[in-house]
């Protein structure tokens, strides 16, 4: 407990120290929010976010890396740090491509096939023929409603996230021999060979859920602090020291970041932060064997991604809106709630679900 608090303070001060420097560098490099490729600013009033530096997740990533590599580098922290690095790299690439990249169009599948048949260069024909499955895969995502922009396409993101999940699954399933999940009042539930699939699915879902929730100043960061803090309490009770210290590092970095992210934000975490923080949250829950509590403690994230999914399905079937807009925080924005009100209420909602999750844990041990 004492060590965890020390690490939180240390991590917070470190993040506070590097934040102004990173914000300055991002400004200079013009890594700033542009409106035309920002989904979260589709609501007119939010155009004021234009020009805010993104990729603020770097503050969190550097803090976690420095503190962990110097003070808490051990077999328990290898996998979380690898997950953090892969997800952050994916997010950073997406952020950078969204700002500096060119629009990448998806060639319709029938045109790809035709080109593979009629191209005048035979080498190109073979190359195009080899790429047919890839073209089909990209077209499926396009058909599912993923609008291809400048950044990394949804299908490509899912592949990298699957690899990230696969690494965690490989580590937990083969190295640590974990194939069960703990369920309150029930005990361990054997998933067997379905465990890797479950791990991959959870990591992809959580990563994207946090990404979707990161649409308002302070929203996802506040929720992340609550979720990580709850897992920290559980780790302290279970005396998982190394995990507790890593969680403390993350919380400290998030606290300092939130200072700069509160409305009007001086920096936004971008996909660099949101994708990595989501994947890491799921990884930590798996490492603590408390994955059952994740959808309860992190219910706001589940609600956010769930509302987007439901809206998509409902719109494609009935051609009507289920929510005024998805994810849910935009629904309330359209309903004329102020941004501050939405963020504060989501924080409260997150606190309540975290307490429920912790209570479930306490009464069942």
């Amino acid at each position: 407990m004492k060590d965890a608090i020390t690490i939180i303070l240390l991590s917070t001060f470190f993040a506070f120290a590097i934040a102004p420097l990173i914000i300055n560098i991002l400004y200079r490099l013009k890594v700033v929010r542009k409106i035309e490729n920002d989904f979260s600013s589709i609501v007119g009033e939010r155009t004021e976010k234009e020009g805010t530096p993104i990729m603020g997740g770097i503050i969190i990533i550097i803090t976690i890396l420095v503190v962990t590599l110097t003070l808490n580098w051990n077999p328990y922290t290898y996998i979380p740090i690898i997950v953090l690095l892969i997800s952050a790299t994916l997010g950073a690439l997406d952020d950078l491509l969204n700002i500096f990249g060119r629009k990448r169009l998806v060639k319709p599948f029938h045109k790809h096939i035709r080109l593979a048949m009629i191209h005048k260069d035979w080498k190109k024909r073979i190359w195009l023929a080899l790429l047919i499955p890839w073209s089909a895969y990209k077209n499926i995502w396009y058909r599912l409603g993923s609008y291809p922009g400048k950044g990394i396409h949804a299908g490509e993101k899912i592949i990298v996230q699957t690899i990230t999940g696969g690494i965690v699954a490989f580590w937990l399933f083969t190295q640590l021999d974990i194939s069960t999940i703990w369920i309150p009042f029930f005990g361990d539930f054997e998933l067997g060979i379905f465990m890797p699939i479950f791990i991959i699915f959870t990591i992809i879902s959580m990563s994207n859920a946090v990404n979707i929730s990161d649409g308002m100043d302070g929203l996802s960061t506040g929720l992340l602090i609550t979720s990580y803090s709850t897992f920290l309490l559980i780790a302290i009770i279970e005396q998982q020291t190394e995990i507790a210290l890593l969680l403390a590092t993350i919380i400290g970095a998030l606290i300092a970041y939130l200072y700069f992210n509160i409305k009007p934000a001086r920096i936004q975490m971008g996909d660099t932060g949101s994708l990595s923080m989501g994947a890491l949250l799921a990884t930590m829950a798996f490492l603590q064997d408390k994955i059952f509590l994740l959808p309860i403690i992190g219910l706001p994230f589940v609600v956010e991604i769930g509302s987007s999914l439901l809206q998509s399905i409902y719109k494609s079937i009935f051609r009507r809106r289920l929510f005024k807009m998805a994810p849910l925080h935009l629904h309330y924005l359209i309903k004329e709630w102020s941004e501050e009100k939405i963020v504060m209420r989501f924080w409260l909602f997150g606190s309540i679900t975290a307490i429920i999750g912790f209570w479930l844990y306490i009464i069942s041990i």
């Binding site: 007119g44 079937i317 009935f318 051609r319 009507r320 807009m325």
Partner: protein
């Protein structure tokens, strides 16, 4: 003589008086000319008044359009620019659907004879009936029978099969000895497009609609509805939906 059910009168009134930020705005015309697939029904000319109102509010937020300051005309222009409105068959389909539901607790799609459909199309029609019922389907031989002007009654449809513009449809809302009143949503009449009421003065009961006096005119005195009617007058005219005949 048939009467318009209260629910239908309210529906028509709602299309005439959309409540947009406290202002009463007449629904403009919009048709899915680009044949956008997977579009919301309120954005392809098939929404209910409530759906249209909601969409206007959402788009106003998205585009930073100040509904409070805007006049009714500006709101209508904004709606047309964003493709929010109602087309002719969308209006009539909602009216008939509401009518059937209010009287027989039945849906319009279950009372309509669709041409032979594949299983996939059948599912689509079941899920999105309003988008899949057009002016031609409502007034074709399978779903309606021709009616003479002397026998016109409320709920009859006016088939207006223009050649270039495609099909058009209007629904009769009132009939008296001397005139027929109808409601439709039209692309014509300039800025005054969209949902409109029209009147046909009956000059000779024994003759077709083209021989009657159509009173709906623009500022230059042109009746666009009659013009459209005249393009294929042999195939146009009054039609009574078969589900209203079965009712008797």
């Amino acid at each position: 003589m048939k009467k318009l059910p209260k629910e239908v009168t309210e529906l028509i009134d709602n299309y005439f008086n959309l409540n947009i930020n406290g202002k009463k705005v007449k629904t403009p015309y919009h048709i899915n000319v680009k044949h956008i697939r997977a579009g919301l029904r309120s954005l392809v000319g098939k929404g209910t008044p409530q759906e249209i109102e909601e969409e206007v509010n959402i788009f106003a937020k998205l585009r930073n359009f100040n509904l409070k300051k805007a006049t009714k005309d500006e709101i209508r222009q904004f709606m047309q620019k964003e493709g929010i409105g109602i087309d002719c068959s969308g209006l009539v389909t909602h009216i008939l659907n509401t009518w059937l539901k209010s009287e027989k607790m039945e849906n319009l799609e279950s009372s309509i004879n669709f041409p032979k459909l594949s299983l996939f199309k059948k599912i689509i029609v079941k899920l999105r009936p309003i988008e899949n019922i057009g002016a031609n389907l409502l007034t074709n031989q399978e779903n309606s029978t021709p009616v003479k002007v002397e026998n016109a009654q409320i709920g009859d449809l006016i088939r207006l099969k223009g050649i270039k513009q495609g099909h058009h449809i209007a629904i009769i809302t009132n009939v008296s000895e001397k005139e027929i009143q109808y409601v439709h949503s039209t692309r014509h009449y300039g800025q005054d497009n969209g949902i409109r009421r029209g009147e046909i003065q009956i000059l000779d009961k024994n003759k077709g609609l083209e021989h009657q006096n159509w009173l709906e005119k623009d500022e230059k005195g042109v009746c666009w509805t009659l013009k459209q009617y005249m393009k294929e007058k042999e195939d146009n005219g009054l039609r009574r939906p078969k589900f209203f005949i079965k009712e008797k």
